[in-house]
Amino acid sequence: MSDQEHHIPDFWKEVVDAETIERCLTRISYEIVEKDRDLQKLALVGIRTGGEFIAQRIHQKIQEIENREVPFGVIDITLYRDDLSDSLEQPTLKGTDLPFSLSGHRIVLVDDVLYTGRTVRAALDAIIDFGRPALVELAVLADRGHRELPIRPDYVGKNLPTHKDDFVRVRLREGGYTDGIYLIQAHDAKKG
């Protein structure tokens, strides 16, 4: 995949820069901590693959703010997707890694971009298979709208107005890029 390439195509339009991303994540971290909810039972779960690094960063920030260990895990929702048969690509599993029991926890699910809501739906199914959390919240770096399911984020970094046919891509330093959110308009997408 293009993760290996560190070049951003010219027609990708940067809509959120690195500094803004950092600020958004800091804000989300504080919001999670400050929310009047049981902080002692907080745990973060990133959704592979897009949410994993975002979740790690928020997790790190929260640990710094709180100065204590907060449980962290990642889930692979491939086996819970509802669009497997439509995909042309052979699905690859990266694995689920939840080194703590979810039961009774206040879980904050983390993803990079919220779009139709189908990924979150799959993630909720997966979470429930692993136990009975006391509460599940959702944090996303960007919300681009066009929901197809009744799903609403609790913490949002940026709201991005998009057309349904556009593509939104998040590139992060963990993948070898400078942080940035890009908009690829439908008529440009054909180029790449």
């Binding site: 052979q90 689920t96 692993f130």
Partner: protein, 324 residues
């Protein structure tokens, strides 16, 4: 990674897979190990899919393993067993398969005593993915996958790192689909394969270039064959080989080829033992060894489910042919 969606249209054998294909399958299989360790051992990945297990040869383990794998993926699995003698049943394998296809299954898992049976069905059935669960003496690909996965776990190596090992396979190689699939797999991974057994059961053709690429060593003496082995895979000896005159008597076979802890003294330090089961204890392998610390037999069975889940998932969730 760009994975061609038609790459795993069927799983008929290890032969024909690329090294990348094999590693991809093993890596995916590893991910499914975790699913079977959960309290709730079920994922909705193949919900609404139908898997038919057509076992026309006696089998307990493999069939159970495929059935559990299908169920843990939420597929509807149906088992059909039979003697497989098409003539005596009055219905040919093709008729049976076409009848089944008319019920629109997504995957047909087939075990048959005839080499090439899975191949044959894959050519005749257009809408169904075929998984070879053992065809005659030809191949048993999921067994080789689970053997390799077990070795990866034991040696704590990623599939791509499982190379340079000395693998010795002992027993009735001639009639063994397990041996053939493992030979292909280890050739792809880069391990050295030695085959051990009497000349009647280990024909010299196995070492020919035309057979398995020529990288296979043949040895008719057990101690020599296991020397320096990192892995010794013991195959089940079919009791009827005696009446077929491949071996004079079972005692003769045991005297020469029974694998015991003493025999493995010459193997590499940390040598482990695999057996596809069910074992004839005291004939091809000693009980002490089979149950001992060197034996990975139970791990093999556990991994069998993971490997079959990975296989069924890849075939069952693939993009539809028409779209490609």
């Amino acid at each position: 990674m760009n994975v061609d969606s038609v790459r795993f249209q069927h799983l008929l054998g290890i032969e024909g897979l690329s090294r990348e294909d094999l590693i991809f399958l093993l890596e995916n299989s590893q991910q499914f190990v975790e699913v079977s360790q959960r309290d709730l051992k079920k994922v909705p990945a193949l919900r609404g899919k139908t898997i038919i297990n057509l076992f026309l040869e006696p089998s307990t383990r493999t069939r159970a393993s495929f059935e559990i794998a299908g169920k843990r993926l939420s597929a509807d699995t149906i088992n059909i067993s039979g003697s497989g003698t098409s003539v005596s049943k009055g219905e040919t394998l093709l008729d049976t398969a076409r009848t089944l296809q008319a019920m629109n299954p997504d995957i047909l898992v087939v075990r048959h005593r005839s080499s090439g049976a899975a191949h044959f069905l894959s050519q005749e059935l257009t809408r169904t993915a075929v998984v070879n669960a053992g065809d005659g003496m030809h191949e048993h690909p999921t067994q080789a996958l689970l053997d390799c996965l077990t070795l990866c776990q034991h040696f704590e190596l990623a599939p791509s790192e499982l190379k340079g090992k000395n693998i010795t396979i002992v027993g009735d190689i001639r009639h063994s689909r397990v041996a053939r699939s493992n030979i292909w797999a280890h050739q792809l991974l880069g391990n050295k394969v030695t085959l051990v057994g009497p000349a009647t059961l280990v024909p010299h053709e196995f070492a020919d270039e035309e057979a398995f690429g020529g990288g296979v060593r043949i040895c008719h003496t057990l101690r020599e064959g296991v020397e320096g082995a990192d892995v010794v895979m013991v195959l089940r000896i079919q009791l009827e080989r005696q009446s077929d005159n491949f071996i004079p008597t079972l005692e003769e076979y045991t005297r020469q080829y029974c694998v015991t802890p003493q025999v493995l003294e010459g193997a590499a330090p940390g040598c482990v033992v695999l057996h596809p089961g069910p074992a004839n204890r005291g004939i091809e392998i000693s009980s002490t060894l089979y149950e001992g610390t060197q034996s990975l037999v139970e791990k093999q069975v556990t991994n069998g489910v993971a490997v079959r889940m990975a296989t069924l998932f890849l075939l069952g969730s693939r993009g539809r042919k028409e779209n490609v």
